[in-house]
Amino acid sequence: MPPFARNLVVWLILAMCVAATVWAVSFRPTPKADFTFVNSAEIQSVDPAVITGQVEGRISDALFEGLTSWDPKTLAPRPGMAESWTISEDKLTYTFKIRPDAKWSDGSPLTAHDFEWSHRRTLDPQTASEYVYQLFYVKNAEKYASGRVEAGDRVEIELNTPPRGGPLHARGEVLKGKFVSVTPPFPKADEPEKKAPKRVYIVEIDGHRRSFEPGKGDGDGGCKQVLLDFAEVGCHALDDSTYEITLGYPTAFFLSLTGMYTLYPVNRPCIDEYGFPEWTKVEYLVTNGPYRLKERLLRERIRLVKSDTYWDREHVKLDTIDALVIESETTALNLYLKGEVDWIPSVPTTIVKQLIQKYSRELTPTPYFQAYFYRINVTRPPLDNPLVRRALVLALDKRAIVESVTRAGETPARSLVPPVIKNYPGFTSYESGMCGDFDPVEAQKLLAQAGYPGGRGLPKIPLLYNSDEAHKMIAELVQRQWKENLGIDVDPQNQEWSAYLAAQNHLDYSICRAGWIGDYFDPATFLGMFVTGGGNNETGWSNARYDELMRNSDREPDPTKRLRLMHDAEEILMRELPIIPVYFGVSKNMVKPYVHGLYGNVLDVHPLGRLSVDRDEKTEFLKSEGSR
């Protein structure tokens, strides 16, 4: 290579470096929003049908609205898209009146048919909604979603191609008929199939028997899926403004569920046109809530702007809202203290005490519908012995954990359901708890009774938790306490989130950290976990009496009796102890004093549509901050 070319290359590289640097330092700053808060993780999706978490809920609640919405203070159901509703005598049929000014963000009217269509979509197996079970209280919904039909049922067959002239991603053409048989037959209800075999359905249509094979190509008999006829499911739009839901059994908290994101309506033309997940893109997304999606930068921020088609737009005070994606609580706190954000949903446990003292106006932890506990694998000796489990519970000084690790005023727990439900006769204070108090002497006795005096003969017990500083601290303290009080060797093991979940699901653990946040405001969201074979049981524990009580409570229309039944069930749980309750959580929202409409509530949900910022107070506050 000639020298001049060599020099040329060198200069070229230098020029590239300069250009790259110039490119790197050129930023396009975004103007500040009226209200900025920290959303602690990147959301899984915008689609309300597929999401599951609190982080997603915050965004979804701003973008969409269900039939009802939750009062930000009391969480009582309030009119949402439905302006009113009636409940039948037997508490089984709910008739919702959709408000006439309900509109989508593109200006088109929102009708009862949109709800019917959206709820069907959530139930459709192809949507693969994780929270689909929130709809299972509706008559036949579970049957529809599982695809298990019985002979004689009306069924619908979704063909591979959408109706002629329809949009690209629309549902395939639907044939209806009567189900005759399927080969191979479905397995029994509680036997999950490892791998779905190819099935051939025989369906009678207009007197002719035809066979259908889901997954087969376009040829004869090919179709997408065979499901129960949706007309059998208890969701019906009677006309544009009347939506009727029929439940399988009376569900006291159903009006809370209709305010939950899984049951939100989604825009049919948008989804039919673009399909999932394309429809969630900022440029296509059509919503019906107080806010519209303006900008979505992955792991950076979500910008919401006020919707001008929302029915209650007069009461929406903030024009723009930014949700920043920041995982680290310390970083979030720092942004908050620097005045960059107005609300952080959580603060670092290390300094929560100091923060409560110093910022008493801004940080007031409130009881929360959350329980922190340890699951015990009761199928694994020696933990299959209730005496050992009881000894473990009694040897645990929960007050020490709450005082020295969590520090935010959490209540040490002696039962499972957090003490925030009025009228529930369960746990009210630590002193009156159901399972025993800290009592190392009694614990040692129990352990000796179980055949392990002084911890002799007990193998090392692994204690699983997911990687996190606070969980680690608690695990280490628990390990110490059991070692000192019982002489038991515990081996704390941390696992990454998904591996930890897998171990829990497959009962591949001995003792395992767990936390649970109520989905809706009812003890059933906690106690329902531990019924035999329940998806969230994960302890191997089974008790016929418990199952019966829980089943009866499901069907009990009288609220007081119902709570009583659940309380009895909880007592069984606390006697058998497949779990070790540790503490009940508090929500740790830190909010600037000039923000109004954000109340501490037991589900820790804070609808963004109700927030407002007082400008004068804000200037004053900033001035006083500056002079401090």
Partner: protein, 386 residues
């Protein structure tokens, strides 16, 4: 051209020309032995001694290693006992010693009941030697231990003690994992270089491809696989714990550079006369590689060793940051530093939790790096006359 050894060897040889032949040969042989003794190692040592920084680092490292080994006998508090009244206590200057261990009566009481005894509770499960050291410590110092000169952590545990006990694990990880990488790297590189031809080509291509695998990812997966409860239980039944897995995994990653260096050296050495000689008398390839070639690579290996240990220790810290490090209640420096990192908050900075572990890591790695540089200079023939 080194000066002294050559001078030594010529002068007496000339002076004894008149002596009897047999004596002369014996004398020559003795001298030859002496010369070999003064050659590479001693020469390098001589040059290393001149490098004051390197010597300082060597002494420092020796001290750190010694105190890590002797930790159980030192008058330290229990690294595991929480003190919930004193969480986040700042470092104290005095008094220097406090009484912390359980009282004599308590120590004996536990034993009489036959449950796990106090050493178990205070210091975790120790092997016989370490238990003996702890007992010696009690005999020497009684219940006295050093006060919390480095402060206390979130659960009120003494940071000083945790630093010492953490050193044991951190250093063990660094040294053992490096040795593992050495074992793999040297064998692989030497075999590849010695055999040559298409085998060499293939083996080096494999290294090249493996080099492009993002190993952080691999490590995350391998550690998750191996610390699955069931797999873990199986491994533990064979006496393999998480730290051992650590050694092997990390070692298995850092061998590639070593294998390349060794291969290059072997390629240039394998046509030397001593290898030819060994081959003519019928030595097997394995014998030639490990008996004749590898010892000649010792200088390279030592330099590489001192430079790989810091890398491994850094990697351990990185894994601790991700939460994949050693398991509680065990401690390592990386783990402590990570814990300290989380204690830097806008409201209050618990600086001691962050600064002391960082200093421990920093000082050790700093010393290792400087020592490595010094060794490289000392062993580099090009720098002989400087």
């Amino acid at each position: 051209m080194s000066e002294k050894p050559t001078d030594n060897s010529i002068a007496p040889a000339a002076g004894s020309a008149a002596a009897e032949p047999l004596d002369r040969y014996a004398q020559l042989l003795a001298e030859a032995k002496e010369i070999r003794g003064t050659s590479l190692g001693r020469d390098a040592w001589r040059r290393l001694k001149k490098n004051r920084v390197a010597i300082f680092c060597l002494v420092l490292l020796a001290l750190i290693a010694l105190s890590a080994v002797l930790t159980p006998i030192l008058p330290l508090q229990s690294p595991y006992r929480p003190d919930l009244q004193n969480t986040f206590a700042a470092p104290v200057a005095g008094p220097l010693f406090i009484e912390t261990l359980p009282s004599k009566a308590e120590m004996d009481r536990d034993r009489s009941e036959g449950a796990s005894d106090w050493i178990d509770v205070e210091f975790g499960q120790l092997n016989g030697l370490n238990r003996a050291l702890v007992k010696a410590r009690v005999a020497m110092f009684g219940r006295w231990s050093l006060n919390s000169l480095c402060g206390r952590d979130e659960l009120g545990r003494d940071l000083l003690a945790r630093l010492f006990w953490g050193a044991r694990i951190s250093l063990a990880v660094g040294v053992v994992a490096t040795l593992v990488s050495l074992l793999i790297g040297v064998s692989y590189g030497a075999v590849s270089g010695y055999l040559g031809g298409w085998i060499d080509n293939l083996m080096m291509r494999v290294v090249e491809v493996l080099h492009s695998v993002p190993f952080v990812f691999i490590v995350i997966f391998v550690i998750t696989i191996l610390s699955e409860p069931s797999t873990k239980a199986w491994l533990e039944s064979h006496g393999i714990d998480r730290i051992t897995i650590f050694f092997v995994v990390v070692g298995a990653i850092y061998w590639m550079t070593m294998s390349r260096i060794v291969r290059g050296q072997v390629l240039s050495l394998k046509h030397e006369q001593f290898v030819e000689a060994a081959r003519t008398i019928g030595a097997s390839p394995a014998r030639i590689i490990f008996r004749h070639l590898v010892p000649n690579l010792l200088s390279v290996i030592i330099v590489y060793l001192t430079l790989t240990i810091p890398q491994v220790m850094l990697f351990e810290a990185f894994l601790s940051f991700l939460g994949l490090g050693v398991q509680a209640p065990n401690v390592s420096w990386g783990l402590l530093a990570n814990q300290g990192f989380h204690a830097i908050t806008p409201v209050q900075i618990f600086w001691w939790l962050f600064v002391f572990p960082s200093l421990a890591i920093g000082a050790t790695l700093f010393a290792l790096n400087f020592l490595g540089d010094g060794l490289r200079d000392a062993l580099d023939p090009r720098l002989k006359n400087k």
